[in-house]
Amino acid sequence: MSRMRRFLDSIEPQFHKGGRFEKYYAVYEMVDTFMYSPNNSTRTAPHVRDTIDLKRMMSYVVVALIPCIIWAWFNSGYQANLALAELGVARDDWRGGLLSMFGIGFNPSNPFANLVHGFLLFLPIYLTTLIVGGLWEVLFATVRNHEVNEGFLVTSMLFTLTLPPEMPLWMVAVGISFGVVIGKEVFGGTGKNFLNPALTGRAFLYFAYPAEISGDQVWVAVDGWSHATPLGLGETGGMAAIAESGLTWWQAFVGLMPGSLGETSTLAILIGMAFLLYTRIASWRIMLGVVIGVIATSLLFNLLASDARPMMAMPFYWHFVVGGLTFGLVFMATDPVSASMTNTGRLVFGILIGFMTVLIRAINPAFPEGIMLAILFANLFAPLIDYVVIQSNIRRRERRHVSA
């Protein structure tokens, strides 16, 4: 280790002002602080500090995502293997080659085979996200002279998990570029963005390349295999269509259904949610707000249900297990940067998301995935919500002591 330290120290002057690599100080700083904790800092009160740390918060979110990641590997592999078995064909790309070479095979009843298959589907997308998004991060950090932030690890993981398993990699690259650059960096980087960068990237893909990210063709990583998500079924045929497909609520809860990589298993998401709530990283108020919003709105629509809008009849407990609702509510809505900051505001923010999600799902069949748009929509309203909360709080207090 000390050799590494010496090496870093010896090359450091090159990156300082006037040095040969002055422009790349951000890169040096990233490597340096990744390996060693920095010691440049202010020396004023308070001289003691809580043990919480931004890096730890970010890594906790990644830890909370682990169940979803593992489930993403298993389920996407399982769905692909199932489709291959049914079509009676073999996989003829590099993944198939690797799987055959190591004799792992394509048996859907072999969990290990599913896991490895899914991992091979996941890995290229994730690596693309990480490399392309990371390049943008470093580029901006270099030009702007600030540090590369750990927040990107979370963004890249969230972005990957919301994509279908066979997204073309160049689209992945375009999507994350849009998310990082337009969703975050142009506004000044971490902490200054008002939209969730991962969702911004996904929304861009959704509108730019709808064929690759919506419909019935894309959710299982096998060409020519069409399988609608329960949400897609619900949009067209209502609860009856979902029942017809043979999917039970419990299957949907566990996540044995086609869908985006990491969004299918409500169970896995709930494990992550418990971790986030226990460590107090994510705001329970936002989560509660979404739950209230979804339940209230879906109960309302249940009363108004008609044949023209079959989704209106979907009971709230189905809303939570289909589509990306739970994933969005746990990991996306709670992104503190783009959410409301006041406590009351957070509750309102969550309710707005829940309401908009069900509204989009039930009323607009063109956009089955409501949570993504609902969160982006609420992101835009977050500062306004905070403003109203703070102003009304100030007014209430003034009144209180005037009357006292």
Binding site: S37, P38, T42, T44, H47, H401
Partner: protein
């Protein structure tokens, strides 16, 4: 009796670290070879020096006279000789200097004649003056003059004695309450009498059970005339903040821009109560205080230290360990690192902490704010610290004030919890001082403008007065002239009767003259009075020069008009 306690918003639980010094009894600190007594002991007001170099002073002798509304007296902490009077570095984050009296102790520590103050035989005003002249200030750190606080009004319902001592490491109030509980209770009774309180609440954090016990015993022994309750409050930083303690004990929430007095509560530190007791019962002015010496030290303890003792003189008492890299004055939450160890102990200095990188690790680098809201959750003033941070950072000071920047008590809770390690309090201090600087600037500009406007007004006024004087003089001359002219006319007429042709010419000339005079002021109608006065003056001069042609009276001066009419008739 179980009393209902209230909660204040937020707060944090830093490691208390009280045990290091809490068991060490108060001991007198050895006499230093030189004392540096700052003349500025209370906030915002320095005392006027009343001793000279070379003068011998006794312990307790007044060396600085209270000056100004917020001034308090300053006394010699021991007997000795004044060896210098001049600027000396003070305990201040930026190492400011302030005038101080340097005293070389003679080692006798001889008191001046002391006379206890008899409140029964005196009135309230003289009591307040007595406290001011005894140099009593708030000993919790702010050093606000106590007589001002006590003077806000009589009929305060509740007196709160603040023994919370919520900052980590500090134990001076703890020891004071344990060892001199009776004195503190007596001081509290005096304070209660001065403000006319009907009850006294003594709040002590529950991590000091011995202090609570000792104070309860003292109350039982004193058998005070009014109800006194010693209350253990939950240990939660900053429970010792004035507004926070009042909130916990009484449930009263003091709103933005108000003081406790307006809500029938007044709060004093235990150390202040003790000082009041000494001043009233024994006539002793405030010349020493208890200071905790702790931190990265072998022998932490609590010492009775004379005001003016240089801090470097105290350091050997606690034996700082070799890896000590700096010394903090005050607690770790609100204190600051000393830049100069020759600074003297003042009445508000409660603790010196030897800091090492292990005990107080340097803060990690500042990262971007992610709006997690932890700071808002911790803020005891119920502010939105991150909003204040953005406004301060972007120099949007108006907005920062709108979000009540000045309600921030700089307790450091927000910086303590910030996961991005943003030194939030530094930003607020920066914003506050910028705002103060701007206010000073604009006040100076206002003053300059006022001065300029007054100067203009004064010049104008002088001009008018001068003009009026001259005009009056002119009128006088004119009247005189008119008289002589009248005589002339008569003479002329008399002449005319003798020679009609001549008389005709003379009459025509007189008419023409009159007409000319009547036309002339056409362009002077709307002139300001002073201009008219000026013209009148010139006219008067011309007349004088011409030697008596009749003038057309001008302007508003009635004497002139009258003069004119007289003349024409």
């Amino acid at each position: 009796m179980i009393r209902k306690l209230f909660k204040f918003h937020g707060g944090v639980h830093p490691e208390p670290h009280k045990s290091e010094s809490a068991t060490a009894a108060i001991r007198p600190a050895p006499m230093p070879s030189e004392l540096v007594v700052p003349l500025r002991q209370s906030t915002r007001a320095a005392a006027r020096c009343i001793v000279e170099v070379g003068q011998h002073v006794l312990k307790g002798q007044r060396i600085g006279e209270a000056e100004g509304k917020l001034g308090t007296a300053v006394h010699a902490p021991t007997s000795g000789e004044v060896i210098a009077i001049g600027d000396h570095p003070m305990a201040h984050p930026s190492g400011l200097t302030a005038p101080a009296v340097h005293i070389r102790p003679d080692g006798l520590d001889q008191w001046i004649d002391l006379t206890p103050f008899d409140y029964d035989a005196n009135d309230r005003i003289s009591m307040l003056a007595n406290l001011r002249d005894a140099g009593i200030v708030g000993m919790g750190g702010a050093a606000f003059p106590s007589h001002i606080k006590l003077g806000t009004g009589i009929g305060i319902e509740t007196l709160v004695i603040n023994g919370a001592e919520c900052e980590p490491w500090i134990t001076c109030d703890d020891r004071l309450m344990r060892e001199r509980g009776n004195a503190v209770i007596d001081g509290a009774a005096i304070l209660a009498e001065v403000i006319g309180a009907r009850r006294v609440l003594i709040g002590i954090e529950d991590n000091k059970p011995e202090a609570v016990e000792s104070m309860r015993k003292a109350v039982a022994e004193a058998r005070p005339a009014l109800p006194m309750d010693v209350i253990a409050v939950p240990s939660l930083y900053p429970a010792g903040g004035e507004k926070q303690l009042i909130r916990v004990l009484t449930g009263i929430e003091i709103p933005h821009g108000k003081l406790g007095g307006e809500f029938g509560v007044q709060c004093f530190n235990t150390g202040t109560a003790h000082a009041v007791h000494r001043a009233v019962r024994f006539g002793e002015p405030l010349v020493s205080r208890i200071v905790t010496l702790t931190g990265n030290a072998d022998t932490p303890g609590n010492y009775e230290v004379l005001v003016g003792t240089p801090i470097q003189h105290l350091l050997p008492l606690m034996g700082p360990r070799p890896d000590t890299d700096r010394f903090l004055l005050g607690g770790p939450m609100m204190g600051f690192a000393l830049t100069d160890l020759s600074v003297p102990i003042v009445k508000g200095s409660n603790c010196i902490i030897a800091a090492s990188p292990t005990l107080f690790p340097p803060p990690p680098a500042e990262l971007p704010c992610i709006r997690c809201g932890e700071c808002a959750r911790a803020c005891p003033a119920e502010l939105q610290p991150f909003e204040l941070y953005w406004f301060s950072r972007s120099r949007n000071f108006g907005k920062a004030q709108e979000y009540h920047l000045f309600d921030c008590i700089e307790c450091g809770c927000c910086s303590y919890v910030c996961p991005s390690h943003i030194p939030l309090v530094d930003y607020y201090r920066f914003a506050k001082s910028e705002i103060w600087a701007r206010e000073r600037e604009s006040a100076a500009a206002d003053q300059a403008r006022d001065r300029f406007e007054f100067r203009n007004y004064r010049q104008e006024r002088e001009k008018t007065e001068k003009a009026a004087k001259l005009a009056a003089k002119a009128a006088e001359t004119k009247a005189k002239l008119a008289e002589t002219e009248g005589v002339d006319n008569k003479v002329q007429v008399a002449d005319g009767s003798e020679d009609p042709k001549k008389a005709l010419i003379a009459a025509a000339l007189a008419r023409a003259k009159q007409q000319k005079a009547a036309i002339k002021p056409a362009n002077t109608d709307n002139l300001p009075p002073e201009a008219e006065a000026e013209i009148a003056e010139i006219e008067a001069r011309r007349q004088k020069a011409l030697g008596g042609s009749e003038p057309k009276p001008l302007g508003v001066l009635t004497t002139d008009n009258n003069g004119g009419e007289d003349k024409q008739s």
